[in-house]
C-alpha cells in the first residue's frame, strides 16, 4: 500500500492520460458497440434492430467473409516482412562493419515517409501502362511474359497492396530487434562458437531465445497495426478490382460513408476490435507456453 502522498501523486499523473484514453479510445468503442444494435443512416432516427446486424454479418454477407479472408492474407504478408525480413536484416546489420549506421537509416526511411507518398510511389512501381519499375525489370531480364498490371489482376492485387505496408515498417522493427540483439551477452555467443556452433546454431540456440520476448512484442505491434491497416490499400486500389483487395477496414469505411449504414459499419468495427484482442491473446498464450517450456 502506498503512503497517502504517493497515492495522490500517482493519481495526479495517471488520471489525465486515463481520462484521455477513456474519452478517445474506450468511449468510441462503447459507442460503436451500442450503435451496432441499431440501424442508422446518420440523418433519420436510430432504429433498434437487436442482433440483426450480427446475424447479417455472420450468415448473409459474402463480402464480409471475403474481406476477412483478405485481411488474413494482408496480415500474413505484413508479418512476413515485419517479423521475418526485419529479423534477418537485424542479424545482418549486427555482423556488418562499416556502413552499419547508413544501412540502418536507409532501412528506417520508409517509416517516416507519408503514407500518401508511399501509395503514389507504389502505384508507379506496379504500373503497366506506362511500364513501372517491376515490369521494366522483368522485361530487361527477359521475363517480359510475366509483366502484368499488378494492381488490376484479381490474383496479384492483394499481395501487391500488402507488400508496401509490410516493407514500410520493416526498418522500424529491424531497429527494435537490432537493439535486442545488441543486448545479447557476447560471452554466451563466443562460448558457443568455441564449442563449434555454426552461425545458424548461435542464432537458433543463443540469440533467438534471448530476444524472443522482444520479438513477441514486435509481433503484437505488427499484428494489431496490420489488422487495422487501411490507408495504403484504400489509396492504391480502394478495395478493387471488385472486392479482390477489400479489407475489413476498407469495407467498414465504405459501409459507413458510402452506404451510410452506420449501424452495420459499427458491427464490423466491433468485429475488428474483438479480432485484435483475440490476436493479442493468442500471441501472449504462445509466449507463455514458450516461457514455460524453456
Amino acid at each position: 500500500m502506498l503512503p497517502g502522498r504517493s497515492r495522490a501523486s500517482v493519481l495526479v499523473f495517471l488520471v489525465p492520460p486515463l481520462l484521455l484514453y477513456l474519452v478517445a479510445v474506450a468511449l468510441p468503442i462503447v459507442q460503436s458497440l451500442v450503435l451496432s444494435f441499431f440501424s442508422w443512416d446518420g440523418v433519420t432516427d436510430l432504429q433498434a434492430v437487436g442482433f440483426a446486424n450480427y446475424v447479417k454479418m455472420f450468415t448473409a454477407d459474402p463480402i464480409f467473409w471475403r474481406a476477412f479472408a483478405n485481411t488474413m492474407v494482408y496480415l500474413a504478408v505484413c508479418l512476413f516482412f515485419q517479423l521475418g525480413v526485419s529479423l534477418f536484416v537485424a542479424n545482418l546489420v549486427s555482423y556488418a562493419g562499416r556502413g552499419k549506421e547508413v544501412a540502418k537509416t536507409l532501412y528506417l526511411l520508409p517509416a517516416i515517409i507519408s503514407t500518401v507518398a508511399i501509395a503514389f510511389l507504389f502505384q508507379r512501381i506496379y504500373s503497366y501502362e506506362p511500364p513501372g519499375l517491376i515490369n521494366q525489370i522483368l522485361s530487361t531480364v527477359g521475363l517480359g511474359d510475366l509483366a502484368r498490371p499488378w494492381l488490376s489482376e484479381v490474383n496479384t492485387v492483394l499481395v501487391a497492396v500488402s507488400a508496401p505496408e509490410g516493407w514500410r515498417f520493416t526498418g522500424l522493427y529491424m531497429l527494435i530487434l537490432y537493439a535486442a540483439i545488441l543486448a545479447v551477452p557476447k560471452e554466451l555467443e563466443e562460448a558457443a562458437r568455441l564449442d563449434g556452433a555454426s552461425t545458424w546454431q548461435v542464432f537458433a540456440h543463443v540469440r533467438f531465445p534471448y530476444i524472443r520476448p522482444v520479438w513477441v512484442t514486435t509481433m503484437i505491434m505488427a499484428s494489431t497495426y496490420s489488422l487495422r491497416g487501411f490507408d495504403i490499400p484504400y489509396l492504391l486500389t480502394n478495395g478493387g478490382p471488385g472486392q479482390a483487395s477489400e479489407l475489413l477496414t476498407t469495407y467498414m469505411f465504405k459501409t459507413a460513408f458510402r452506404s451510410t449504414d452506420f449501424g452495420y459499419a459499427s458491427t464490423i468495427a466491433v468485429f475488428i476490435v474483438i479480432e485484435c484482442i483475440i490476436a493479442v491473446g493468442l500471441i501472449l498464450l504462445v509466449l507463455k507456453r514458450g516461457t514455460d517450456n524453456s
Partner: protein
C-alpha cells in the same frame, strides 16, 4: 478505490455531455428578421481549388464584402469526392451542415430534403427572379425523380467521345454510328498498335457512364428510375443488353490493360499523348484537349463525336449525357435575409463571368468567350449546345442507392476484365437492389 472510479465515471460523463452540448449550430438567424446582418458564412465544396467556380465565387464574395462590412465567405473545398462525402455525411449526422454545401440529387440528399434541412431552390430562384433564366436541362440535372429542385447548378457541360483522327485513319476505321460499332473498332485499333479507349477505371464512375448508354438509347432516360427501385431488372432484355455490351467492350480489349488501377489523369494523358484513340469526357476538359502544349500530332487530330445510337433507339442523336456539375444546396436552418441577398448577388453575376472564362453557363443567353490561341475545335465543341435535344442521359451514380452504386462500380470492373460473367453480374445487382432500394425509395 470505488470512490475514485465513481469520480472518474462522473468526470467522463460530464465531459462527454459538455462535448455534445458544444455541438449546437453556431449562428442561428431568427426566421422573422428582415434586416441584412453581415456575418461569416461557409460553403463546403467538392470542386477543384483552382477551378473557375471557386475563383469566380471568391471574387464575387470579395465584392459583396466590400459593400457589406463584416461579411465573409469561407470556402472549404475537398475535391476528392469520397473524402468530401465522408465529411458531408459526418456533418449531416451531427446536425452541423454549413450555410452552403455541394451535393448531387442522390438518395442521401433526398433524405435531407425529407427532414426539411434544405431550402427549396425552385422557390428560391423564383423569388429571386432568376428561375426562368436557367437552362431547363441544367436544372433538370439537379432535380429529384419527383421534380423537386434543391440544388443550384454552377456549370453546364456536354459529354463527348473525343477521338484521334490520325489514329483512326491509320487503323482504317471511321467514326462509329452505333454503340456496337464502338466494339468493332477495337480490334483494328489494337492491331494498329494503339489503345482503343482510355478510361479512368480507378474512380468507378466513368465505367458506369458506359453502362448507362445502351439503356438510354434502347429504353430512354426513365429506365434507370425503374431499375433503381427494382421495377426493372438488370436481367431483363434492356439490362442484359447493356451488360453484354460492357462484357464485349472488355473481351475486345477496348480499354487499356490495367485500366482498373489507372486514375483520371492517367486516362487523359494516354489520349493527349497519342497512345489511345478514344476518350470519353465532358467539355470541362476542353482546355487540356485543345492546349497549345500538346504534341502537334495529337492537337491537330483531336475531334469528337456524340453518343452513338442503336437500332430502334427511343432517344435522338442529339440527346446524350449533359451535366450541370455537383449542385449547391442551401441549408434551411441558416437561410436568412443575408443569405438571400448574397445569393442573388452571386447568381446574378456568376454566369456572365463564367462565360468570360470560356465555359458554357447554367443560365441561358451568355456566349462563352473562346480563349485566345485555342483551336477551332474549342468553339465547335461548345457550339453543340445549340443543337441539344430535350432528354439527358443521367449518370447512374447519382440515381442508384449508394450500396448498389458501389457494388455496380466494383462488379463492372470485374465484368469488363473478364473476371466475372454477365449472368453473375446481373444476379448480384438485382439482389443488391432488392435488398437496399427499399431503404431509400420505399
Amino acid at each position: 478505490m470505488k470512490k475514485t472510479l465513481a469520480a472518474l465515471a462522473g468526470a467522463v460523463t460530464a465531459l462527454s455531455l459538455a462535448l455534445t452540448g458544444c455541438s449546437g449550430s453556431a449562428a442561428q438567424p431568427s426566421p422573422t428578421a428582415t434586416e441584412i446582418v453581415p456575418r461569416q458564412i461557409s460553403w463546403l465544396l467538392s470542386r477543384p481549388a483552382d477551378g473557375s467556380v471557386i475563383s469566380i465565387v471568391k471574387k464575387l464574395a470579395d465584392e459583396y464584402a466590400a459593400k457589406h462590412p463584416g461579411f465573409s465567405l469561407n470556402l472549404i473545398t475537398t475535391p476528392d469526392r469520397p473524402s468530401y462525402l465522408q465529411k458531408l455525411q459526418t456533418l449531416a449526422a451531427a446536425n452541423q451542415l454549413p450555410e452552403l454545401f455541394d451535393t448531387d440529387a442522390t438518395p442521401f440528399t433526398q433524405k435531407l430534403v425529407k427532414q426539411g434541412k434544405l431550402v427549396d431552390v425552385q422557390k428560391m430562384l423564383t423569388d429571386l427572379g432568376l428561375y426562368d433564366k436557367y437552362r431547363p436541362l441544367a436544372l433538370a440535372y439537379q432535380r429529384f425523380d419527383d421534380g423537386g429542385l434543391y440544388m443550384v447548378p454552377f456549370e453546364f457541360e456536354l459529354e463527348f467521345f473525343w477521338y484521334n483522327k490520325a489514329l483512326f485513319q491509320k487503323a482504317g476505321v471511321s467514326v462509329p454510328k452505333t454503340l456496337d460499332d464502338i466494339v468493332s473498332l477495337c480490334k483494328p485499333l489494337r492491331d494498329s498498335g494503339v489503345i482503343p479507349i482510355s478510361v479512368d477505371g480507378q474512380d468507378g464512375w466513368p465505367l458506369l457512364r458506359y453502362m448507362s448508354y445502351q439503356p438510354f438509347r434502347v429504353a430512354g432516360p426513365d429506365y434507370i428510375d425503374k431499375l433503381k427501385k427494382g421495377e426493372a431488372k438488370m436481367g431483363d432484355e434492356v439490362g442484359s443488353k447493356a451488360v453484354q455490351w460492357m462484357a464485349n467492350l472488355g473481351s475486345n480489349k477496348c480499354f487499356q490493360d490495367g485500366f482498373s488501377s489507372q486514375g483520371y489523369t492517367d486516362a487523359r494523358d494516354l489520349f493527349t499523348s497519342g497512345k489511345s484513340a478514344m476518350y470519353q469526357i465532358g467539355t470541362w476538359e476542353l482546355a487540356s484537349l485543345t492546349s497549345k502544349d500538346l504534341p502537334a500530332s495529337v492537337r491537330d487530330n483531336v475531334d469528337f463525336f456524340t453518343l452513338p445510337t442503336v437500332d430502334g433507339a427511343v432517344t435522338a442523336d442529339n440527346e446524350y449525357t449533359v451535366v450541370s456539375g455537383i449542385g449547391m444546396a442551401v441549408s434551411q436552418q441558416t437561410y436568412d435575409p443575408l443569405m438571400k441577398d448574397f445569393l442573388k448577388f452571386v447568381l446574378d453575376n456568376y454566369s456572365e463571368r463564367l462565360a468570360a472564362s470560356g465555359h458554357l453557363t447554367p443560365m441561358k443567353g451568355y456566349e462563352p468567350t473562346i480563349p485566345d490561341g485555342s483551336s477551332e475545335l474549342y468553339k465547335r465543341a461548345l457550339a453543340e449546345v445549340n443543337n441539344l435535344g430535350e432528354k439527358i442521359a443521367f449518370p447512374w451514380d447519382t440515381k442508384l442507392d449508394p450500396t448498389t452504386n458501389t457494388l455496380m462500380q466494383q462488379e463492372l470492373t470485374l465484368l469488363v476484365q473478364g473476371d466475372s460473367t454477365p449472368e453473375s453480374f446481373e444476379q448480384k445487382i438485382d439482389a443488391s437492389i432488392a435488398e437496399n432500394a427499399p431503404k431509400f425509395f420505399g
